[in-house]
């Protein structure tokens, strides 16, 4: 949303594209490890399980740290990706800004909730 007047008036782009590109690729590389790890690990650990099985899974330190990292990095990657989708398809200024804000706030809220949930399972309430 930072658009200096010089850039708005046909003097070039926001010049934030390279940062976006690098962030999307570096999170992708991290997720190429974290996502398959979580899918296979959780499928094998949680099959046919119940509430206690899920708690056992989430209270193993490696799993807890892995899930927190997965949520943080995946949500950042999703934030960038959905931003790109919104900018590609939504052109009405009000709707566009509304969806961009919803993307940001929604992911921060769900991300904070998910990380706090892992901590709560581990350290009790």
């Amino acid at each position: 949303m930072r658009t200096p007047l010089g850039k708005v008036r046909n003097h070039g782009a926001g010049a934030a594209g390279t940062g976006h590109f690098i962030a999307q690729r570096s999170t992708a590389i991290a997720l190429a490890v974290l996502a398959p790890w979580f899918v296979v690990n959780s499928a094998l650990s949680l099959k046919g399980g119940n509430y206690l099985g899920a708690i056992d899974f989430l209270t193993q330190p490696l799993n807890a740290v892995g899930v927190i990292l997965l949520v943080l990095i995946a949500f950042y990657h999703m934030w960038l990706g959905m931003q790109e989708v919104i900018l590609d398809y939504i052109h009405r200024p009000f709707t566009k800004v509304l969806l961009l804000l919803l993307n940001t706030f929604g992911l921060i809220a769900f991300g904070a909730g998910a990380v706090f949930a892992v901590l709560m399972v581990n350290f009790g309430a």
Binding site: A35, P36, V40, L44, Y51, I55, F75, G81, V85, G113
Partner: protein
């Protein structure tokens, strides 16, 4: 512009006359699976919050995931992860400048689609018969 002097440049893609190509499908699927996984990741966040909320909240969540609809959803999520992963790696290779020849790009496209079909079957077999 006079028609006689117009150079024979390639025309931009036009939906009605565009020959179907597998790289077109992989591009669309990457975005579709990306948006679907956005929803799946929000579901993972809700699942974690349900686990933190206690057995009485987690119970119904777990029942839903074990129901036929839940199982089909999880299967499709695994397929979407597999596809987005394989095609994402393909795009990282493209970013390095490699694999962009049409024949190479088509081969890797078919590989990504194959992986998306094979991976969930493999995981299902591993969960059902293995370990």
């Amino acid at each position: 512009m006079a028609g006689a002097t117009r150079p024979q440049r390639p025309l931009s893609p036009h939906v009605q006359v565009w020959r179907w190509h597998v790289t077109m499908l992989t591009s669309i699927l990457h975005r579709v699976t990306g948006v679907a996984l956005y929803g799946a990741a929000l579901g993972l966040a809700l699942w974690l919050m349900a686990a933190a909320a206690g057995a009485e909240v987690f119970g119904p969540t777990h029942e839903f995931l074990l129901s036929p609809i839940g199982q089909v959803a999880l299967y499709l999520i695994v397929a979407a992860v597999a596809y987005h992963l394989a095609n994402g790696i393909r795009h990282l290779v493209f970013d390095s400048g490699a694999g962009l020849q049409p024949a190479d790009a088509s081969t890797s496209a078919w590989f990504a689609i194959f992986f998306a079909i094979a991976a969930p079957i493999g995981l299902w077999a591993l969960v059902t018969f293995g370990g």
